[in-house]
Symmetry: C2
Subunit: 438 residues, 2 copies
């Protein structure tokens, strides 16, 4: 079905002039939003009409940071210092992630993202990313994928990692049918030596691939970097030319004022992951200051190992409340700001221009919310309810390019039961090996 | 049915030694948890058995702070400075809350609480609390209710408020069948003059009623109090005898170190409302310091006008993450701590001793979670998932005194559709009047 009309819906938009359109219809043709107008539908329309009275339609969520295979590690460890968390809990388990387990973890993450209204996301992992690409294509989600690179190893190792990352990124971009793209994502300045980062930047230029990296996530990282190089990681990356082309900078919790001025007129954007930064005790990113600098900011969940879910509604709310609490200012980061971060900004950052909006001519990537839930009453201010009261479980339907990916909470492209079964089976095997590895 | 067995469940407990009991059964008799033991059930049991394979059972949530009639004002205003929020948005609407609207708002809040797994709560409001009492009794929830008192008005007005508050509290305690109790809740030291607070304390002594108040919610409140009385609100209340009997101190965001030492050995407990404090820009309560002082802390949502939902799962997570972020320490406020705040501590604070635990001899007040949701996979660490991944919509069943209040997400005591309809109708009338009031 490539032409249809959804009637009698309320629409939540990124349009600053009018955030809510009541009792409208949305006409979709060949994957594109053809028309949005007030109900009733004119008589001359010939497409089949579906009455969705009581539903709210909004742009899907764009999750700008994640590591899907790690979904198998949800709850592996919480509430422990970062180095212990990594060294004793996460890395030893990651070392046991074989192809089957990567697939199981990724499938679980894709399932959870669709269920909670995400339509596109960024994925970075160092293992079996080709399998991740295949799973994403099956799921119907849109994505930007990267074969993550940690800059440890011989020169030859690094060359081979970079070649493989470039090859994969180009392949995915070509094969992804505009829905999946590749990027280059060196892990972080503290795990990638400057020479290697220079090579990565060069390849990104050469192949016109966007860049991404984790940056200034913890105070320790920044202190250590300054000790070692006598400059902040941000100014260091700047010198290496990292910001001369589209780049997604993830976390940036400990950005200094000079860092922000430096980033101001660069083609970069920030992936803000407030729940993961909180859970790992990394701190609170200076988002109000970044907004004042005119930086573009999207939201990300990070992996479920440090979140521990992929619910972008919760992430929006947390992002808004955290800053209000931290600076004792309720007017800071209003609902509109986080909503735009999660939708239109995220889409732009991921390279999906004209996405993340409910507008004629935009791809029909949108989600529906069941407005009857108790926590969404009364119908005061739907926009406020989406940000301050809803969560991912309110999502009932997900459309991507006009294709229903989830209908009335039933997955259309993935087998939920099978994914659940395989995730648990793989997890049990992994835990057994983990506990019996000397 | 006063005798039954729920079989094949996983149980989440407040027992520090063993937080998860896998594949157990729970025998309930006359509203009490008679036995908890490992499946299989012994042959000699005669009660009907219900197989709940795949469900997790945990104590229900205890919400230690709220104003249910205000549920009608969800989303009335967000992201504005506190004085503007109160003066332009909340108070003018509250002035229009008649009996019908109070009932509609309260019913909506009760519905939302049951849906999201709350079994008992605290309610403070200044209008039509008798109607609230009736609605609570119909709902099957447990509650501590108070006719709120703001200390403005003539001496005679204040006397009459206090008399009415005492009468109601006594009536509810007598008629509440141990499930509903009364308390005295003067609004706050900045709205109640010292003489009036002294009278309230005296009455609380006389009638053996617990006390509650909002305290040190904002920095301004503390600064102003010190200017006026040359002491902090906490030390002032101490002098007035407020802490010589069971008292629930709500918010306490701006408690000073001397305040905490002063409260240390008093029969008081703290209702921590982190999301409301964040949303209103009040700040971040010194919870780690309070725990170090040995203070007892429960969680509260506050009303939906400043939260904007009543989901205690989200409140647990927010409480844990906020402190980790604020003090850049991931080990702070671990999952166990917030879980106990929301259950056993909250129950104790509300005067429901032996509640909030999954233990033989305790009242059968518990909830069930559907463990099949994508965001609760894999079944690594159910305890972690409850705190760090779940939300109120994962709750499928609610039992109070062994009576099913919600079964498979269907309300057993309340008419969901009617409540939704009335809340919206009342809200529309209220908004019409609000907009047309000169």
């Amino acid at each position: 079905m490539n032409h249809f009309i959804l009637d009698n819906v309320h629409i939540i938009t990124t349009n600053k002039e009018q955030r809510v359109l009541k009792q409208h219809y949305v006409e979709v043709k060949n994957g594109i939003i053809q028309e949005i107008a007030k109900t009733p539908i004119p008589k001359n329309k010939e497409a089949p009409v579906f009455n969705y009275q009581g539903k709210w339609i909004l742009p899907g969520m764009y999750n700008t940071h994640g590591h899907t295979p790690m979904s198998l590690l949800r709850g592996a460890a919480d509430d422990v210092p970062l180095n212990r968390w990594l060294e004793q809990h996460i890395w030893p388990r990651e070392a046991l992630l074989n192809e089957e387990r990567v697939k199981a973890g990724t499938s679980l993450a894709l399932l959870e993202m669709i269920k909670s209204g995400t339509v596109a996301y960024l994925d970075m992992y160092h293992l079996h990313m080709d399998r991740v690409f295949e799973l994403v294509m099956q799921s119907g989600l849109k994505a930007v994928l990267s074969r993550g690179m940690i800059g440890f190893g011989s020169k030859r190792d690094l060359e081979s990692k970079l070649t493989s990352a470039c090859d994969m990124a180009k392949t995915w971009t070509d094969a992804g049918d505009s829905n999946v793209k590749g990027m280059l994502f060196p892990h972080a300045p503290y795990t990638c030596p400057p020479d290697f980062l220079k090579d990565v930047v060069e390849k990104a230029h050469q192949f016109k691939l966007p860049l991404g990296t984790h940056l200034a996530e913890t105070k320790t990282e920044v202190i250590d970097h300054k000790k070692k190089y006598n400059k902040t990681p941000v100014s260091h990356l700047n010198e290496l030319g990292f910001f001369d082309q589209p780049a997604i900078l993830t976390h940036l919790v400990h950005a200094e004022n000079d860092d922000l001025s430096l980033l101001k007129n660069k083609p970069v954007s920030i992936s803000h992951n407030p729940m993961s930064n909180a859970k790992l005790g990394s701190g609170i990113a200076p988002i109000p200051e970044m907004l004042d600098s005119g930086l573009s900011i999207g939201l990300g969940t990070d992996s479920t190992a440090s979140n521990n879910n992929l619910d972008m509604f919760e992430e929006m709310r947390f992002a808004a409340l955290l800053q209000k609490a931290n600076q004792t200012n309720p007017a800071l980061i209003p609902a509109e700001t986080v909503f735009d971060m999660a939708t239109i900004n995220g889409a732009k950052m991921l390279g999906f221009s004209e996405h993340g909006i409910m507008q004629e001519g935009a791809p029909a990537d949108f989600i529906m919310i069941d407005s009857e839930a108790a926590h969404l009453q009364p119908e005061t201010n739907m926009f406020s309810h989406i940000v301050y009261a809803a969560n991912g479980q309110d999502v009932t339907d997900v459309f991507i390019n006009g294709r229903p990916i989830m209908k009335d909470r039933e997955l259309q492209t993935l087998d939920e039961e099978k994914i659940r079964f395989e995730a648990n089976a793989c997890f049990k095997d992994l835990e057994y090996e983990f506990k019996n590895t000397p």
